[in-house]
């Protein structure tokens, strides 16, 4: 049954997949970055359709904002023209084949796996935050350490102090 939400889903899905294809097929890294934004916005749309408004917001802020900006900054810091000509491996048909095979297996598994479902239901924001900060406090703490390590690591990697010639 075609419902408006289904049409929206297809739209968001097309955006997601189209953007994704743009990322992995493109020859130009700037276009790839823009395609990535498109795709990630599509994912945010999908989140909305699953009543995950908070996550959709997070998705737009973190991905659309932070992550893509990091990538673009990185490109700016390097000489952009070097990235104009991107290429594939010689064995890209093999990669395409394995990706297709992977999708085939997954699709078949989805088709043959009966899952008991119920109507779409949203997860309340309070429940989410309570779960995040109470039930999953340990992983949450650890994730903050992961971020810290990534930060220190990034600083170590890029900082110029003590640079040898």
């Amino acid at each position: 049954m075609i419902t408006p939400s289904l049409i929206l889903f297809y739209l968001a899905g097309a955006l997601t997949l189209g953007g994704a294809l743009g990322v992995v097929m493109g020859r130009n890294i700037v276009y790839a970055a823009i395609s990535l934004i498109v795709s990630l916005l599509g994912v945010a749309g999908v989140f909305l359709l699953a009543f995950a408004e908070f996550l959709a917001l997070v998705q737009i802020l973190i991905y659309g904002g932070a992550i893509v900006i990091v990538i673009v900054f990185a490109l700016m810091l390097t000489r952009l023209d070097e990235f104009q000509q991107l290429s594939e491996h010689k064995q890209w048909p093999l990669a395409a084949l394995s990706a297709l095979a992977f999708f085939g297996v997954l699709a078949a598994a989805i088709a043959r796996t009966a899952v008991t479902t119920r109507d779409r239901a949203e997860v309340s924001f309070t429940a989410l935050s309570e779960s995040l900060f109470v039930d999953w406090a340990i992983p949450f703490e650890v994730v903050s350490l992961v971020l810290l390590v990534a930060l220190i690591g990034a600083v170590v990697m890029v900082r110029r102090t003590g640079e040898r010639s």
Partner: protein
């Protein structure tokens, strides 16, 4: 109610890392040489504290996502000791070749924390996050030789493939979450035991989870990052990569497979067995053609991952009629843990010798070992002992652990795989003997004796003593291991059967 005092060692580890980072920040260059000693003292203190404080103290936090038991305690001790040895073997190397010692040791301690958390995780998300803490630290450490393009490249490659494997694993976790409704190990086991058979979606999830883990431990065919990463990384980090990350990943795998997935052992045993067969074969054959010592040891460690996977595959005896016997699960679990310890001691020693012998990082050709037997008899003896232990020859610990592990697997009905394992183990002897030959038979180009610092001598002496002592008298270690495996094996050694008929 959550008893947070159980988490004290973890908090202390995080605190120690912060302390080292802060100390680095506020001290001048002269004082920075005390940083590693601060790290060692801290780790030693935390080790002692954990052993005294947590002994026999069993509990779980947040309804079982995080388990403090004998198994976690055992690995906590093993992993912290590994951390101490890696710090000790880094001191000279870092002073000579790397800058930013504070960040180096700080990140190292964070990865130790990640490993320790991994051994306690009894839930997939917690395990995943801990694994990422470990992996992120390792990505940075591998690239820590910032001005060496090989190190950069190793880091990039390791990071990209690590992230790729994380994605695979996460997809597997999402499937398991969606189809089992839980990611807690004990609940997973319960749900799995109630299923008449595994749905295709679930099988895909399990396979992806296994594939992701296989990437992390460099099992064939997910091993291609390992030789490059091992070669490019600073040598002490290579040791850490070979030892610490694998010990921790197998600590997780052992718990995962024996606590959560054991009811469906009939489905994954063959997957793991094939993975193990490929890994031990490719690893040992690949090592035959290597001329770079670090690459050689990388392939050898891939071979050893094959043996450990064999042990995991042998956690249960699947009979011809698809009934499962868990009567000798302990034997296999003990074998895996013993081999992890043996492999850890041996590899740290081998890499430490290599980091001392090879002055210029980036050029570790095997001929550089020529004449080591005359240049430094002690270093040569330790390296000889290490490779013989890796080859599984007595009187070194590698012999006992391989024998125990293979024996366990044979008892579980995997004799064909044991035959292959023993056979590849002989192949490995060939390239290990090449190392011996370089050291003792070939003459050196530069015959000057090698100066070895007292610290390195002490550390190597300790490791050598450990290799021989555990090779001759492993009983005390086995008692500890038995204590650990009592905590994870679902069915005790009473011989009870899990009545689960598949299909």
């Amino acid at each position: 109610m959550n008893n947070f005092t159980l988490l004290l060692p973890e908090f202390l580890l995080a605190g120690l890392a912060f302390l080292v980072l802060t100390a680095d920040f506020i001290t001048n260059d002269e004082r920075k040489r005390y940083l590693p000693w601060l790290a060692v003292a801290g780790l030693g203190g935390i080790l002692a504290f954990s052993l005294i404080f947590l002994w026999g103290d069993i509990g779980s936090l947040y309804g079982g996502i995080f388990r403090i038991d004998g198994y976690a305690l055992f690995f906590k001790a093993v992993l912290i000791v590994i951390g101490i040895f890696v710090v000790l073997s880094s001191i000279d190397y870092v002073k000579k070749n790397l800058d930013h010692p504070g960040e180096y040791y700080g990140i190292l301690i964070f990865t130790v924390l990640g490993m320790v958390l991994l051994a306690s995780s009894a839930e997939l998300l917690t395990a995943y996050i801990s694994l990422e803490l470990l992996s992120f630290g390792l990505y940075v450490l591998v690239g820590f030789d910032r001005y060496n393009p090989k190190s950069n490249e190793a880091s990039v490659k390791y990071m990209l493939l690590g992230a790729f494997s994380s994605a695979l694993m996460l997809f597997g976790i999402s499937q398991i979450y969606g189809l089992l409704g839980t990611t807690r190990f004990d609940e997973m086991a319960r749900v799995l035991a109630s299923l008449p058979e595994l749905s295709p979606g679930l099988i895909v999830g399990l396979v992806l989870l296994i594939a992701g883990l296989a990437f992390k431990v460099a099992a064939v065919p997910f091993h291609m990052w390992a030789p490059d990463a091992y070669e490019g990384a600073p040598t002490p980090v290579t040791a850490y990569l070979a030892v610490g990350s694998k010990a921790a990943a197998f600590a997780l795998m052992l718990r995962l497979f024996s606590e959560a997935l054991i009811p469906s052992v009939g489905d994954w045993q063959i997957i793991l067995a094939i993975l193990a067969a490929l890994t031990m074969t490719v690893g040992n054959l690949g090592a035959l053609v290597q001329t770079n010592v670090k690459r050689l040891l990388a392939y050898s460690s891939i071979g050893h991952v094959g043996y450990l996977l064999l042990g995991i595959a042998a956690l249960a005896f699947v009979r011809d009629d698809n009934t499962i016997s868990l009567a000798t699960t302990h034997l296999a679990a003990n074998g895996v843990m013993l081999h992890i310890v043996a492999y850890a001691i041996t590899n740290i020693a081998a890499f430490l010798v290599i980091s001392v012998v090879f002055k210029n990082p980036g050029n570790e050709d095997i001929t550089g070992l020529a004449g080591l037997g005359r240049r430094s008899p002690f270093l040569a003896m330790v390296l000889a002992a290490s490779v013989l232990s890796l080859a599984g020859l007595p009187i070194f610990v590698g012999f006992v652990s391989k024998f125990y592990l293979f024996n366990a697997a044979a008892t579980q009905g995997l004799l064909w795989l044991v035959g292959l394992a023993i056979f590849t183990s002989v192949i490995s002897l060939y390239y290990y003997l090449q190392i011996l030959r370089q050291m003792y038979v070939e003459p050196a180009e530069d015959d000057s004796p090698i100066k070895v610092s007292k610290l390195t001598l002490g550390v190597l002496g300790l490791l050598f003593a450990g290799m021989v002592f555990l090779g001759v008298y492993p009983a005390p270690l086995m008692d500890a291991i038995q204590y650990a495996s009592d905590a994870i094996a679902v069915v005790g050694s009473s011989g009870a059967e899990l009545a689960h008929v598949l299909d």
